[in-house]
């Protein structure tokens, strides 16, 4: 069986899969027990499964695990914890930017990647960056406020 080494949240993880085309998402969720990234569509359309691959947001539901081999994978668990949340997670909590919360890990990862590139991102930049992340509950306004808060701006 193919074996790969992934650098997940700073740790080297060796994983063995029966199918090298198995999407990264299932390896993270099942083999590594990192269930923060969610299955939403399996088509790269909704963003619930977003993780960072070498710092870039990717849809882990359509990234074969082979493509993540020997690369850095950051999941929402790697950003922060309940006790020590990442500044963007702090902002999400402050804005109560979650209803059901299923899409939220993907929102956090997309937002975190934006803020690395543009620490002072504008509201429009946040809207554009998150355009591929879907939310059904309608938490959008709070999510935008959270990103703006983490960017040191007041959302309008």
């Amino acid at each position: 069986m193919p074996r790969f080494v992934l650098h997940v949240n700073g740790d080297a993880k060796s994983v063995e899969v029966a199918d090298a085309d198995e999407p990264l998402l299932y390896v993270l969720r099942n083999a590594l027990g990192l269930t923060g990234a969610k299955f939403g569509c399996g088509l790269g359309q909704c963003g619930a499964c977003t993780v960072l691959l070498d710092g870039e947001p990717v849809r882990s539901c359509i990234v074969p695990v082979a493509r993540a081999a020997d690369r850095k994978v950051t999941t929402v668990e790697g950003l922060g914890t309940v006790d020590k949340p990442h500044p963007l997670q702090v902002a999400f909590i402050a804005e109560q930017a979650s209803q059901c919360g299923y899409c939220v890990p993907g929102m956090v990862m997309t937002g975190a990647a934006l803020l690395v590139k543009k620490p002072k991102a504008t509201l429009q930049e946040a809207k554009d960056a998150l355009a591929g992340n879907l939310c059904r509950c309608g938490a959008h306004q709070r999510i935008l406020r959270a990103v703006m808060r983490a960017a040191g701006r007041t959302a309008t």
Binding site: T81, I93, H140
Partner: protein, 731 residues
Amino acid sequence: MNARPSRREFLQATGALVVSLSFAGDGAAQRLPASDAALGKTLDLNDVDGFIAVGADGRVTIFCGKVDLGQGLRIAIPQMAAEELGIGVDRIVMLEGDTALTPDQGPTAGSSGIMRGGVQIRQAAATAREALVRLAAGRAGRPASEFIAIDGEIRPKSGGQGIRFGELVGDKRFGLKVDPKAPLRSPDTYTVVGKPLPRPDVPAKVTGRHVFIHDFKVDRMLHGRVLRPTSVGAKLVDVDESSIKDIKGARLVRVNDFVGVLADDEWAAISAAKKLKLSWSDERALVGRDGVRVWMRAGPFESDEFLVRQGDSRQALAGAAKRLRGEYYWPMQTHGSMGPSCAVADVRDGKATIWSASQATHRFRVTIARVLGLPNEAVRVVYLDGSGCYGMNGHDDAAADAALLSRAVGRPVRVQWMREDEHGWDPKGPPQLLALEGALGDDGRIAAWRTEMWLPKATASLPNMPLLGPEAAGIAQTPGITTGLISQNGNPPYAVANQEVLVHWIRTAPLRPSNLRAPGKIANCFAVESFTDELAAAAGRDPLEFRMQGLTDPRGIEVLRRAAALIGWQARPAWAKRGTGRGIAYIHYKNNESYVAMAMEAEVERSSGAIRVRRVACAHDCGLVINPDALRAQIEGNILQTLSRTLFEEVAFDRSRVTSVDWASYPILTFPDVPEILIDLVDRPREPPLGAGEAAATPVPAALANAVFDAAGIRLRTVPFTRQRVLAALA
């Protein structure tokens, strides 16, 4: 605040069920390996012990039959209980929707979480507090009137040492009936209710630690996928088990037309579902999307029903000088949960435990017991958070799938639907057709009104919506359809002397329907409040003033006034056609619940037909406000989700199947579409708390349609408001 129970003990000796807390934030709520369906705890709605237990450490456990679907009951109901008990909300933990532990408070639906579920628990808490005061007074040999419950203690009002709740009843039963007359605290003294306290589950949700049903695992669990047919109603013709023999551990389960695959590994199960060769009969029994409207007019009909008959609307219309007509249509829509439905089932040895995101665990317990041929007592259904659910989506279907597969192999099985399953097979919000007719009197007011509705008729006393898995497996279920209460608010909320609301009840629905947020009321308000605008324009009157003149209820007038102020309403005689416009709409939800007025500012781009919503202003009165921040979140969600439904959403289907099976073919609102949202909450501490999970959804489409009319002079009467429809109307 993120405390979730990870361990619990049933103390046989004393009989109270006490939950130990873990602050690890592991979110392992209600992870109970034992499938004991009856733990011996009372589930009686009339018993204080049904709802409340106090541990020796003074912590309080609330057993809540309503569940938190993301709407914030997990903080709001503990706030209501904390206020009455006199204890900090941080010392309360709430268990939700476990048929072995929580009383049956009915489904978490119809905006009933606070107004019925929370109110029941509040009364139990008030009864418990009175009992604690009596106990402490008894110990002190003083009258109860000299004591007060505060901060988890019963203290003498005159000062001095208090006695902690845990010392009084810790780990013991109250053994009391809920006293409907137990006095509630005065709103003047509220310290917890009315505060925007943060929800306890948010930190775990934003750090990826919250355990959703999708993340839940039990030992020896297999992953399952169910193969749905290629057309609705199709029969399985052939299945070739050898087609998946190369996938390690993959196995097939077939029960009549129910076909599933199982594997230890989730990706193996998905791969097997993709690879499995099977063929289905080709059925073409559906009317198809383009045929729905004609089909609704044609029937077959169950009955006609007059919901309102006041004065003589037909005669008044016949004799009117100025008479208007409009036909409004609302299409079938999907729940569109972000995470496809999921469940874990363990069916073995004549017992079953189902972990599900069901809105109605007690009801589902009876359903699944019947499906499995087990007595109700042998089945336990435990709620775990699902992906947002706004009515009956596929979660009960997924749970039945998991149960059938688990029973077939005698091991726990997890089933998660794929995206095409969810979009293709979740029960849909039913279609609605409304024909409205109205007349203006010489005084410029509405003199007559008729609403004629064509609606699928929900089957009376249907025990449950027929589920896909059992149907395919040939397990008998009571046939019928469920829709929610879809005929309410078809009447104008304004004074009209002659009015009539007539429903033509259609016997079936084009696709399997269910209740979807604010069932029926969104479309009905869309028609009624758009048509009110049509009448105002015909009368040459300002739409706000026209509405105000027809209202006498001060709470209705107040929300309209506030919404208008919030958006900066400018009175106008008719549409301005400046490219950007404003509209307003109002509802008294179900004619007896919350009051909502909504004003909207939207731009219509004439070249593309695109509608851009700039600002939404909502004034909202749901009586006593328990948690204003959670309430705002519900209002925001109602607004954005309904804008999505209004602008973009319609299930596409042909004669055989649903064809909009992903987010490309069924687009929803995205971040660039998000308008500015302004909310004004009317808090009425002396009024009962009403629901807020649905009401603010209902005026959205009419407010938008009315803004579009103001902006471009076109009247949109069919949802969704696609660019093509706008361009056609502009042409």
